[in-house]
């Protein structure tokens, strides 16, 4: 009797279990990620901040995109051609492109988007300054007419980092470039759809798979190729505390951390359930920026003396520590990219204090204290300024290192007052490599006086090289221009590149498919 009861119970339990299993819905695959920052602004054209750029890649698509080697490939564009006189570019969109609201993507949308982007982006501004106009040919075709041949049309439209020329519906793209787009206008044609009703700033932002998205046939490669989404939903969780991020990843509450911080990497490396992945092989570059308008840095020879005094490895050891995550690289356009070259760099960045001292004497440096702004709250920057101070003092500079939080530094660096009256002489920052791939894109090479970025270098020769580079259409000649520019720039520096570094992402072992790209993207990513 007992055995019959047991058997009956077993049968009932098995039946119930199989019934349950049959009825259970397939659970949606949700990828939970902590990015480097919370998304507070939804318009990737309005700001150059990287978190908005990353958000842009989720929602919107681009006409062109770069692959792993930074070669520009068509993305929304099916075909394109440049006329024999090199003045007219014709672009034809792929079939089947649709906005998330179901309306077709048209050439009109793209023209309006390019105009809005170009109003905000320095590379876009330079391209449009050489353009006669943009013209819609038909629903899928538009033309860009140039006044003169321009060598950076594809590089501009395929620009991988901020500001990225994302294509938006015409109505959205007609928003004043100085105003943010509205919440209800966050409609793209990209691989993910933004869930406005679930967006809670400070808590999370949610994207769901765009099931109507038609990826390109080519396999995903960098930011180019087929954007095949392999999860149903991606949540970017706002979690400001790095320790908590690590604990949440270890406990499996989240799947990935975009930027876990170098001091905690050894802890993650020991965890067998977690993998560290350097998804961006070109990484980032540290830069020491001069205020070229402030004495003594208005003298190119004094700036060159700093270049001679610096040694990259000291900066990298002090901030990153583990050589696995940094690289000594003299090429200002980043090692591992098409324009990387050491031309003209042999005598600088060797930590030669004696030579720097001699240059300072020749330049007539009068001992004016250098106001070096030191940001103290961003871990990846904090140790840079003390190293710069030590190396400059060894070379004979007097340095007044002023400590402050990053936002105070950001506010102070736009001040043109004398350093003794609230201005500054120098500070250190970092660029994502994808922002500095050529002299037009790299903001610190802009030497157009008041129109240049803070530091306001004013150098007609550098500007001449930048113009030549922009107008040159032959890549070999472009490289030659870069080498010539670099040889000149070493003696007339606008800034100093003080090393390349990498920030790996941390993911649990059940996550796979992260692409090697300059931006963290979430198509192709799988969750087992």
């Amino acid at each position: 009797m007992l055995s019959f009861r047991k058997s009956a119970l077993a049968v009932i339990a098995a039946a119930s279990f199989s019934g349950l299993m049959a009825a259970a819905p397939v659970q949606a695959q949700t990828l939970k990620v902590v990015m480097h920052s919370d998304v507070k602004i939804l318009d990737p054209i309005w700001t150059t901040a990287y978190i908005q750029r990353n958000h842009g890649y989720m929602v919107w698509d681009t006409l062109f995109a770069v692959d792993e080697k930074f070669d520009v490939k068509p993305q929304m564009v099916e075909k394109y051609e440049n006329s024999a006189d090199k003045l007219t570019w014709t672009f034809t969109l792929r079939d089947g492109l649709e906005w998330h609201d179901g309306k077709p993507v048209t050439a009109e949308d793209c023209v309006a988007s390019i105009k809005r982007w170009a109003a905000r982006d320095s590379m876009g501004q330079k391209m449009m300054a050489s353009a006669e106009g943009l013209e819609v040919v038909d629903a899928k075709t538009f033309k860009l007419k140039m006044k003169e041949p321009y060598g950076l049309v594809l590089q501009s439209l395929g620009k991988p980092s901020s500001n990225v020329p994302f294509m938006m519906p015409k109505k959205t793209a007609e928003t004043d470039p100085m105003q943010q787009i509205k919440l209800e206008d966050v409609i793209g044609s990209g691989p993910f759809i933004f869930k406005g009703d679930e967006w809670k700033p400070g808590e999370k932002i949610v994207y769901v798979k765009n099931t109507k998205y038609k990826p390109r046939a080519e396999p995903a490669n960098g930011l180019s190729g087929g954007k095949v989404v392999k999860v149903d939903r991606v949540e970017w969780i706002a979690m400001p505390d790095i320790q908590t991020q690590i604990a949440a990843l270890q406990s499996g509450e989240i799947d990935m951390i975009e930027s876990p911080g170098h001091d905690l990497l050894p802890l993650l490396a020991k965890d067998k359930n977690i993998k560290l992945l350097s998804f961006n092989p070109t990484g980032n570059q540290y830069a020491f920026r001069f205020n070229s308008t402030a004495k003594p840095f208005d003298n190119a020879k004094v700036r060159h003396a700093v270049f001679v005094a610096f040694a990259q490895e000291d900066f990298l050891k002090a901030t990153i520590g583990d050589p696995q995550w940094y690289k000594v690289c003299k090429a200002p356009f980043v090692c591992g990219t098409p324009l990387a070259t050491d031309a003209g760099m042999a005598d600088v960045l060797n930590g030669n204090a004696a030579k720097a001292k001699q240059l300072l004497t020749e330049a007539g440096y009068d001992g004016t204290p250098i106001v070096l702004m030191h940001s103290t709250d961003l871990q990846v920057l904090t140790n840079l300024a003390p190293v710069a101070k030590a190396q400059m003092e060894r070379a004979g500079f007097k340095v007044d290192m002023v400590s402050m939080d990053w936002q105070t530094l950001v506010a102070r660096r736009v001040k043109k007052e004398a350093p003794s009256a609230g201005g500054w002489h120098a500070f250190l920052t970092s660029w994502v490599a994808a922002d500095i791939l050529n002299p037009v894109m790299a903001g610190f090479f802009n030497a157009s006086c008041d129109k240049a970025m803070f530091g306001w270098p004013c150098d007609a020769t550098i500007e001449k090289y930048r113009d030549q580079f922009a107008k040159e259409t032959d890549p070999a000649k472009q490289k030659q221009i870069v080498e010539d520019l670099q040889k000149y720039w070493v003696n007339h520096p606008t800034h100093i590149n003080v090393g390349q570094w990498y920030a790996p992402l941390a993911r649990r072992n059940n996550i796979d498919g992260n692409l090697t790209a300059p931006v963290p993207v979430f198509w192709n990513v799988t969750k087992k």
Partner: protein, 313 residues
């Protein structure tokens, strides 16, 4: 009593006025430019200037203050520089986690600290008394975030009993809400328990030496009745005062605790707003905290009358 409440409510007005002027000036006089933060690292000076103009930050300070205070008086707290939402909306979104954390912490802290404080006083010099005193020193000395990380390590990572972080709204799933509240409120409670238990012990000790306690004992009342009905009730006023003053600790602690446990509350909103120089949000949140602090202390003052009939307003 009504006069007293009215007087105290009217007294809030100058307090808020001083807070408003102070916060406004502090924000404008400390370094940092929200326009530069919004524009991003690659922005040019012109782009930053454009944004500053759109936000009205290029107006003179007195003019900015007049506009802001005029709007506040009409119930308009402005729009966040970053979120494209009104500050009132932002606060409404964030108030629940903070309120939940505060209530759980208060319940937890009071229900633990008052009994152990009373017991420590009753058994003065015993092991229990020394343990309570030792704990209170520890509670004062160890920063909240350290306690938070230790609790996360033990209960979330090693034992896997509780989640590390996050918040589930009470209306969505009560049990998930509760399990996400345990570690943060425990963390925030530690300092509070240390403070209240110490004050409770001192107050009860003082009362236990009074003649009426001896009389109560002589009447043959049980220890429980003596302690709860006579000693604790008469020791309540300083304890209530400390609980009221402790609200400031709670507000300050919530800022850290919410960051450690990823709670999307007002504390974290304040940190985010300060770091990004979101002036309208900082100003409103600090005004709100001031009102809460003043009103809670008013309620505490009123509650004195329930415990001590000699107090009349």
């Amino acid at each position: 009593m009504i006069d007293f409440i009215a007087r105290r409510l009217i007294a809030i007005i100058p307090v808020l006025a001083v807070v408003a002027v102070f916060v406004f000036l502090m924000l404008r006089l400390t370094p940092g430019d929200p326009a530069a933060v919004i524009a991003g690292d690659n922005a040019t000076s012109d782009q930053i200037a454009d944004i500053r103009n759109k936000l009205g930050l290029d107006e003179p300070i007195w003019s900015q203050f007049a506009i802001w205070i005029g709007n506040v008086l009409q119930g308009n707290f402005g729009e966040s520089f970053f979120f494209k939402k009104t500050v009132a909306e932002l606060i409404a979104q964030r108030v629940e986690p903070t309120l939940a954390l505060a209530v759980c912490t208060l319940l937890f802290a009071v229900s633990i600290s008052v009994p152990i404080g009373v017991m420590a006083a009753y058994r003065q010099g015993s092991l229990l008394d020394r343990a309570v005193m030792g704990f209170s020193v520890l509670g004062f000395s160890v920063p909240g975030f350290v306690i938070g990380y230790c609790l996360i390590y033990v209960f979330a990572i090693e034992l896997g009993w509780l989640p590390v972080q996050g918040y589930v709204r009470i209306g969505v799933n009560f049990w998930q809400f509760l399990e996400r509240m345990i570690l943060p409120s425990l963390t925030l409670s530690v300092g509070f328990v240390a403070l209240i238990s110490r004050i409770t012990r001192a107050s009860v000790l003082e009362v236990l030496n009074e003649d009426y306690i001896r009389t109560a004992r002589a009447k043959g009342l049980s220890n429980r009745v003596v302690l709860m009905r006579h000693a604790l009730r008469n020791a309540a006023v300083p304890i209530l005062t400390v609980i009221g003053l402790g609200i400031a600790i709670l507000i300050g602690g919530a800022v850290v605790t919410e960051s450690v446990f990823g709670l999307p509350g007002l504390g974290r909103l304040t940190v985010e707003a300060v770091l990004s120089r979101d002036f309208p949000t900082i100003q409103t949140v600090i005004l709100l905290f001031s009102v809460v602090y003043v009103v809670i202390n008013l309620l505490i003052d009123i509650s004195y009358t329930l415990f001590d009939p000699r107090i009349r307003y």
